[in-house]
Amino acid sequence: MVELEAPDDADLDRLCRQLLANPLVEDYEIERIPATSSASPPGVPGPGEGRAA
């Protein structure tokens, strides 16, 4: 699992296909973590942050 901040997820699929996964032998899916209204503890996505897996 790769977790990252992505203010704009328009390029996430390309990022997965060209770098994070080798589509010949690997599959991937992108999961977005909904924004929360309160501050998050360290290591947990905060407002506006997403996660690619």
Partner: protein, 220 residues
């Protein structure tokens, strides 16, 4: 003939590759940040651990600035030989078919193996005989070449399987005992064994020299 041997951060076999190339011609190292291959007649993408093998072996190196020039060189028919990590880089770059997965035994393997030359219609095997046996060492952790069955069948039919491990000598679980493949035209060749470590009988075998001699004969 002048060989250009790529050097990425983490490469470790580039100097042996240069020494092997110098047995049949001239050679120089080419830094991964370079964007041109001026005066180069043949390219070697050497073994090692480019960019620390982070993410997947070869996955980051394929984006190195020099790889754009390598792609242009290959598209123009120039001879390109990828060895071990270089094979992984070329597969990740899409210049060669298939992918290299972790060894079936999940252990690093380092041993001498026998290779069978499947086709001589490539820049790396032109000096070999069909079916010839070559004694060359392997040393890798992710050398299990894989292609889905339809792709493998297509590669077999089009003569793109270049080397197979000898019977009972497959060290990593590669599908169909494949040890090396080439592109459609045969000017880009990759293999997991290390021919640059088999260029002198004093170290066990000089069979690897045939690959460099073959590449040196290709017209620039």
């Amino acid at each position: 003939v002048k060989f250009g041997v790529l050097q990425f951060p983490g490469s470790c076999d580039e100097r042996d590759a240069v020494l092997a190339c110098e047995r049949v011609g001239d050679a120089e190292l080419i830094w991964h940040g370079d964007t041109k291959l001026s005066g180069i007649d043949a390219v070697v993408v050497p073994g090692g651990f480019s960019y620390g093998d982070y993410l997947r072996a070869g996955a980051i190196a394929r984006f190195a600035p020099v790889m754009g020039a390598v792609r242009e060189f290959a598209d123009a028919g120039g001879p390109v030989l990828g060895i071990c990590n270089g094979f992984q880089v070329l597969c990740e770059a899409g210049l060669l078919p298939g992918a290299l997965l972790p060894n079936e035994g999940l252990r690093f393997v380092c041993r001498q193996v026998e290779l069978e030359v499947v086709t001589t219609a490539t820049v790396a095997t032109a000096d070999c005989e069909p079916g010839e046996r070559l004694s060359i060492p392997v040393k890798h952790m992710s050398g299990r070449w894989f292609a889905p069955a339809p792709l493998l069948a297509r590669l077999e039919a089009s003569g793109q399987i270049v080397f197979r491990y000898g019977e009972g000598q497959n060290p990593n679980g590669s599908v169909a005992d494949v040890a090396g493949v080439c592109d459609r035209r045969g000017n880009v060749v990759g293999l997991m064994p290390h021919p640059e470590h088999a260029v002198d009988v004093l170290t066990g075998s000089a069979d690897g020299l045939k690959l460099f001699e073959s590449a040196a004969r290709v017209p620039a």
